[in-house]
């Protein structure tokens, strides 16, 4: 690709995406992801910054961050690829070493982008349009979506700022991924492993935290946009700082983040901590205690957890954004000791196969949904470990630990829904009826979900599909069923027994069986969405170095077509013949019409002279 970028003869690239002949590793991300917006800089751990100690993504070739002057299309449809191949073979191949003859097969790629240069330029132009034009034309939009958060003890959503008497343990993971191509991001090992682990841990923790609540609240958060310089986590930290969120940084006791945990099988898990903040004695003590708690929680399971022996920085994680504001004790749990084990980090090849999610042949989709693969079992182990560590970290009683176990069946269903097929019966039962009944463009189309963050509610409709899935899955796993009707579910504040500040109310489809259709009902859960757009766009600092400034350009149509092209000589010949015919006919007609009396002397003038 780099050769093509530098060549002047390439007008476009069409990539045929196929599974055969997959390279051993391919990561279009950089070798040091999010190196400028993490916590390590000249002011904080300068010798740890810019991956001086550990190169996290050694296979990264930075392709996603190169500026290509031509369109690059990905062709996934096998039939279309066949047509293109056939056209090439019929017309463009060399015959006996000589150049192919016209007409030649050509392809035209349309992908005109309205934004140019960089975010600062296109946002400045958009602002000018908005201010001075009657019909403002927006050139680019900031990447935005929603974070999903919930907590074991419901938090009052209308009370912003410091929450009195709340000490919170944050458990976080990321919700998004990316790849070289737009909106293609299967992100199985990079993102799904974390999501599934945290969801299963929440499900395992929930009943115990209701019966025997721990001292501290546990705050679960799924951050959107982490691939693009920590959009979601920077926004949440920014809100916390400005007292615009339900809790603030003083409420945070410690943090546990789940990184990539899918490929650990047989090996141990690793707990990463920040060496700079651990120079502070109190933070160091707390971190050591956290690690001990995790080790003891893992002792009962078939897992080992360990701390990397070398003093190395934190891997790219949302926790780094929290550290930028406050030195909070925390750990990042991953399956890699130094560099990523994931050889396809943030690429379109990070899919079910990369995560070793395979099913025996001959199963129907519903059977596959509940089949417990090895990957599901190992992720269930990790989820149990996370849940138990969180419970103990939040001050719970260790005697209850044996009741906290992640359900492998739930993990299997989650894995199936997030990496194989999102249009399955379980997801359909969780989502509201208008989503399941919609046509082709609904979020329940066929295939695995794509984890690219997208442009958010103003441009694309309500929240992104993955955000909705996680929100409704959380509602299902932690919520309680109520008797409310649909209109009551939309407006619960009218009822005195329901509290809109503490809970959200969701109208969901319910399970559908073969004979009957589903009966929708109302679920009450303390699951909330919080806006995930970079603070740079609220502060109007489009060139900010502290926050993410990613935007996506607008376009009108993206399509391609193939056709034959005739040689220049033939075109010029046609034009020449046309001009010649026109001139000739003009001359002849003029000549004949001016001499018409002479040429067409009719019978009237027959000389029958009679002398």
């Amino acid at each position: 690709m780099m050769r093509m970028k530098n060549s002047s003869r390439v007008a476009g690239v069409a990539v045929i995406v196929s599974k055969t002949g997959l390279a051993d590793n391919f990561s279009p991300h950089t070798t040091c992801p999010n190196q400028n917006t993490g916590v390590y800089s000249e002011n904080y751990g300068p010798d740890l910054a810019n991956c001086n100690v550990t190169v996290w993504n050694p296979f990264g070739n930075g392709l996603s961050y190169e500026d290509f002057a031509f369109p690059v299309f990905a062709l996934k449809d096998e039939n279309q690829t066949q047509v293109i191949r056939k056209c090439y073979e019929d017309h463009n191949q060399r015959v006996n070493g000589s150049a192919p003859k016209y007409p030649l097969c050509a392809m035209q790629l349309f992908s005109h982008m309205h934004a140019v240069t960089d975010t600062v330029t296109c946002m400045r132009r958009t602002d000018l349009q908005n201010r001075f034009s009657i019909n403002p034309e927006v050139l680019c939009d900031p990447l935005s979506d929603f974070n999903v958060w919930t907590s074991t003890r419901p938090l009052n959503n209308s009370a912003k700022g410091h929450a009195a008497d709340e000490s919170v343990v944050i458990a976080a993971t990321r919700l998004d991924g990316r790849s070289f191509f737009w909106e293609q991001a299967p992100a199985a090992e990079g993102t799904v492993s974390g999501i599934v682990t945290l969801l299963a841990a929440i499900q395992a923790l929930y009943p115990v935290t209701q019966e025997a609540p721990p001292t501290r609240n546990i705050f679960f958060s799924f951050f959107q946009g982490e691939a693009f310089d920590y959009i979601g986590s920077s926004k949440m930290v920014y809100d916390m700082k400005r007292n615009d969120f339900v809790i603030d940084l003083d409420n945070v006791h410690s943090m546990l983040e789940i990184g990539q945990v899918g490929l650990h099988s047989g090996r141990s898990l690793w707990m990463h901590s920040d060496p700079i903040s651990r120079q502070n004695k109190s933070v160091d003590t707390e971190v050591l205690e956290m690690m001990d708690r995790m080790r003891s929680a893992a002792a009962g399971l078939k897992l080992t957890v360990d701390h990397p022996s070398v003093s190395q920085p934190l891997p790219p994680s949302s926790f780094q954004r929290f550290l930028r504001e406050r030195q909070i004790p925390g750990l990042v749990l991953t399956d890699h000791n130094t560099s990523f084990i994931n050889r396809y980090y943030e690429s379109m090849y990070d899919d079910a196969e990369n995560l070793n999610v395979t099913y025996p042949p001959g199963l129907t989709p519903d059977e596959q949904l509940v089949y417990e693969t090895d990957a599901a079992k190992s992720l269930a182990e990790v989820a149990t470990l996370v849940a138990r560590s969180l419970y103990v970290q939040a001050g719970g009683n260790e005697s209850n630990l044996n009741n906290i176990t992640a359900d492998p069946k739930t993990v299997a269903q989650l894995l199936y829904g997030f990496v194989i097929q999102k249009n399955n019966s379980w997801f359909r039962s969780l989502l509201p009826p208008e989503v399941t009944k919609k046509g082709v463009n609904s979020i329940l189309s066929s295939g695995p979900p794509q984890f690219y963050i997208g442009l958010g509610p103003r441009v694309h409709g309500p929240a992104h599909s993955v955000t909705r899935f996680v929100q409704y899955i959380l509602a299902n796993l932690t919520g309680s069923v109520t008797n409310l009707t649909e209109s009551q579910c939309q407006n619960p504040s009218e009822l005195s027994t329901e509290n809109k500040d503490l809970f959200s109310y969701f109208w969901v489809s319910g399970p559908a069986s073969v004979n009957s259709t589903s009966e929708p009902f109302c679920v009450r859960a303390s699951v909330r969405l919080s806006k995930a757009v970079s603070p740079a766009f609220e502060l109007l600092e489009y060139g900010s170095r502290n926050y993410s400034t990613w935007t996506e350009s607008r376009w009108k149509s993206i399509r391609a077509r193939i056709f034959l092209v005739a040689s220049r000589e033939l075109e010029m010949l046609t034009l020449g013949v046309g001009v010649a015919v026109l001139l000739l006919s003009l001359l002849v007609t003029y000549f004949i019409s001016s001499k018409a009396e002479l040429l067409f002397s009719s019978a009237r003038e027959t000389p029958t002279t009679t002398y």
């Binding site: 056209c87 016209y102 007409p103 097969c105 050509a106 035209q108 193939i562 056709f563 034959l564 092209v565 005739a566 033939l570 075109e571 010029m572 010949l573 046609t574 034009l575 020449g576 013949v577 046309g578 001009v579 015919v581 026109l582 000739l584 006919s585 003009l586 002849v588 007609t589 003029y590 019409s593 067409f600 009719s602």
Partner: protein, 233 residues
């Protein structure tokens, strides 16, 4: 293909018709009116014949490809016959009009002779027929591609333009012959014109591989008609 091909084909197809219009018709308003009315009559005949074809298509089985092809051939022949019927109708109309024209003109006789009306009417038919057969092709030729991805010849545009050119001139000559035959009551001339038109339409319907082959057949009919017209005049 591109703008070059667009203009080239447009000039080929409409060049002679344009020059004939500019030098022989544009000066005289009466001729312009007869030209436009002739074009309109051709348009009417096409409308009616396409209506018949459309009804027959809708009434038949759309899956049977052979039947559809046969219906198309029937449609073309019916259209040819209808065009000649309308040419006859236009002749009758113009004959009726000559008396009125004679009444309003300064001299005793009408300002325009039947032969001139025949030529103008034929040209009107020809221009409209050419426009209908060529405009679609011209608009497609503006894009960057050319014909051929499904195996057809890449000379399609030039061939279509030349065919349109021939058709325009043929209609002009047939107009002259037809009116002459109606004037002098020589029915065999009328029959010859109709049969020639049918023959040409039939030749177009048969899928001919080489563009050149089609061309030669066209040129021969063109020459024959030209000679006959000259003899009549």
């Amino acid at each position: 293909m591109t703008v070059a091909v667009f203009f080239g084909c447009a000039f080929i197809a409409f060049g002679p018709a344009f020059s004939l219009f500019v030098f022989t018709i544009a000066r005289d308003p009466l001729r312009v009116i007869i030209l436009i009315a002739g074009a309109f009559f051709w348009l009417l005949s096409l409308l009616l014949s396409s209506l018949v074809w459309f009804i027959s298509i809708k009434a038949s089985n759309s899956q049977d490809l052979r039947l559809q092809r046969d219906l198309l051939i029937f449609g073309v022949f019916f259209s040819v016959l209808l065009q000649e019927v309308f040419r006859f109708a236009y002749y009758r109309l113009l004959r009726k009009a000559t008396e009125g024209l004679a009444a309003i003109s300064d001299e005793d006789t009408s300002a325009i002779s039947v032969r001139q009306m025949a030529y103008v009417a034929g040209l009107g038919f020809g221009i409209m027929s050419g426009a209908f057969s060529m405009i679609n092709v011209l608009s497609d030729s503006l894009g960057p591609g050319t014909v051929g991805i499904f195996g057809d010849s890449q000379y399609y545009f030039i061939t279509a333009a030349l065919m349109t050119l021939a058709l325009t001139l043929l209609h002009t000559f047939w107009g002259v012959l037809f009116f002459e035959g109606c004037e002098k009551s020589r029915w065999w001339v009328i029959a010859a014109v109709v049969s020639l038109h049918l023959l040409v339409a039939g030749l177009v319907m048969f899928p001919l591989d080489a563009a050149g082959e089609l061309h030669i057949t066209r040129a021969s009919h063109y020459c024959f008609t030209f000679i006959h017209t000259a003899r009549v005049i």
